[in-house]
């Protein structure tokens, strides 16, 4: 072997570092593409860039790994140190550091399913953030007037809801925000729907509805974005996702969880009839109460008119009756049909009151009259007292003329005290 000489025509292959690294990089990328590797995560870093860096290792080796933001977005769960994972990806090299690294496209936990793990992780985290707090739950309005539904317009859920509303003959308005409820973009559409309906002033309750399906089908309702949007909604949100046995994160965050879309419809539509009865009952009670009050006042009024201060009270009575009249007519105007009976009753009572008052007046007048009559009857007594007498025939005719009486007739003489029998003897002439 000849000693090598460095000449311009040197046949040895000499790389620049860049060439070498890039060559290796190319080889690696060509030969290690799209495979699965199993290992444990350590030294996990999640900088604000959104990329995830970690070391994947087993008992005797390790490799640097990165999952870029674009792929990390689609991870259902959060990688954690110590987690046993299956990673799908390819090998590459980072030229500035000459470092071989695993470019991760997808991660799956080993053991429990990725979705199950993701569900548990998110539930734990949101719980810690207070999204499930009972104190933050909003009540449904007593009488919902317009329901916003975020759902697939072609799904069974919306049909179920409308059918229940139809059956219960409820007059709720319904506004449907059509959304894809599974697959790519579903959680964004569902969130957009909640946010939009929340801005609609007439909408007072929001229902998230979706028929049954597999865990994967219902997955959008386990997404953090949907959970946070539900939490931020100013209007109560009812989650009605899947069947009774399906629980989603949305169910935990929602103000009310309905087992099914039909159950959600039952929840928002039940109140009307009951409220109708309640209003009717209250109205009845108020009319009974006012009747009682009026009766009591009338009773007091009667006591008043029967008392000695009546003359004085008479004026008050008139004013009172007038007021009663006036109030009665106002009452009539205010009265709904179903209280016409009460109004009639009031009218009768007013009439009765008037009748009694006028009877009372009349009896007083009579008293005055009879007193006056008696007074008149007594007035001649005063005259007799002065020495006059009243002479009458036996049949009571007052004798004013002597020719009225024949000789021998018996006469009756009334004195101031006592009376005499007298007999006419003759005329004396006048």
């Amino acid at each position: 072997m000849q000693p090598r000489q460095l000449t311009l025509s040197d046949t040895r292959r000499i790389f620049s570092v860049s060439q070498l690294v890039n060559d290796v990089k190319f080889q690696l990328e060509t030969n290690f593409r799209d495979f699965w590797v199993k290992g444990e995560i350590s030294n996990l870093r999640t900088p604000p860039s959104g990329h995830i860096y970690f070391t994947l290792k087993d008992a005797s080796a390790q490799i640097q790994a990165v999952c870029f933001r674009m792929q990390a977005r689609y991870l259902k769960f959060q990688p954690e140190d110590g987690m046993e994972l299956l990673a799908r990806g390819s090998v590459s090299m980072y030229p500035p550091r000459g470092q071989v690294q695993l470019i991760v496209e997808h991660l799956e936990p080993v053991g429990s399913g990725a979705l199950q793990l993701a569900f548990e992780q998110l539930k734990k985290r949101l719980g810690k953030d207070g999204l499930f707090d009972q104190s933050r739950k909003k009540d449904l309005p007593l009488l919902p007037s317009k329901i916003g539904i975020v759902t697939s317009p072609t799904g069974a859920a919306v049909q179920d809801i409308l059918r229940v509303l139809q059956r219960r003959n409820d007059r709720l308005d319904v506004l449907i925000f059509p959304a894809t409820v599974q697959g790519a973009g579903a959680s964004q559409e569902i969130s957009a729907g909640i946010r939009f309906l929340d801005t609609q002033t007439e909408v007072d309750t929001i229902i998230l509805a979706r028929g049954g399906g597999s865990t994967e089908d219902l997955w959008a309702f386990n997404e953090e974005q949907v959970a946070r949007t539900i939490f931020q909604s100013g209007k109560p949100v009812i989650s009605a996702v899947g069947h009774e046995t399906d629980f989603t994160i949305a169910d935990f965050v929602a103000d009310i969880r309905a087992a099914t879309p039909s159950a959600a419809a039952e929840l928002v539509s039940g109140a009307r009839k009951e409220l109708f009865n309640r209003v009717g009952h209250l109205t009845q009670r108020s009319s009974q109460a006012i009747q009682l009050i009026v009766k009591r006042k009338q009773h007091r009024l009667r006591q008043l008119t029967a008392s000695r201060g009546f003359v004085n009270a008479e004026t008050r009575l008139r004013i009172f009756l007038q007021r009663l009249d006036e109030l009665s007519s106002r009452l009539t105007k205010a009265l709904p049909l179903f209280l016409v009976a009460l109004q009639a009753e009031l009218a009768t009572q007013s009439t009765e009151l008037g009748r009694q008052a006028s009877l009372h007046l009349k009896s007083n007048q009579q008293r005055v009259q009879s007193a006056a009559q008696r007074l008149q009857a007594y007035s001649p007594v005063a005259v007799l007292e002065r020495g006059y007498a009243i002479v009458t025939t036996l049949n009571g005719v007052i004798v004013r003329d002597s020719s009225q009486v024949a000789d021998g007739d018996t006469l009756d003489v009334q004195l101031a005290r006592g009376r005499l029998r007298a007999k006419k003897e003759s005329d004396h002439g006048v």
Partner: protein, 81 residues
């Protein structure tokens, strides 16, 4: 009274009935309350009766804005989507 004030109306009505049932009000005041109560009762009742169910769906128009359009519930059972 606005529809959303239904709850306020109802609790006012409850309050009025309570006052009337105490029975110690002046007649004028009692009738005033009664009148108010009847008015609320009528409004509440009409609120419970008046509405007609309207089912609408939001659709995007040409400008990309969401507009409310009548929703025709398809007769057939929709796909479990």
């Amino acid at each position: 009274m606005e529809f959303k004030d239904f709850e306020k109306g109802l609790s006012r009505l409850e309050h009025i009935v309570g006052e009337l049932e105490k029975g110690d009000l002046a007649l004028e005041k009692a009738l005033q309350l009664f009148e108010e109560g009847i008015k609320i009762s009528k409004l509440c009742s009409s609120k419970l009766e008046e509405a007609e169910r309207k089912v609408e769906i939001l659709l995007r128009n040409e400008e990309g804005q969401l507009v409310q359009s009548p929703f025709e519930a398809s007769k057939g059972k929709g796909a479990e989507e």
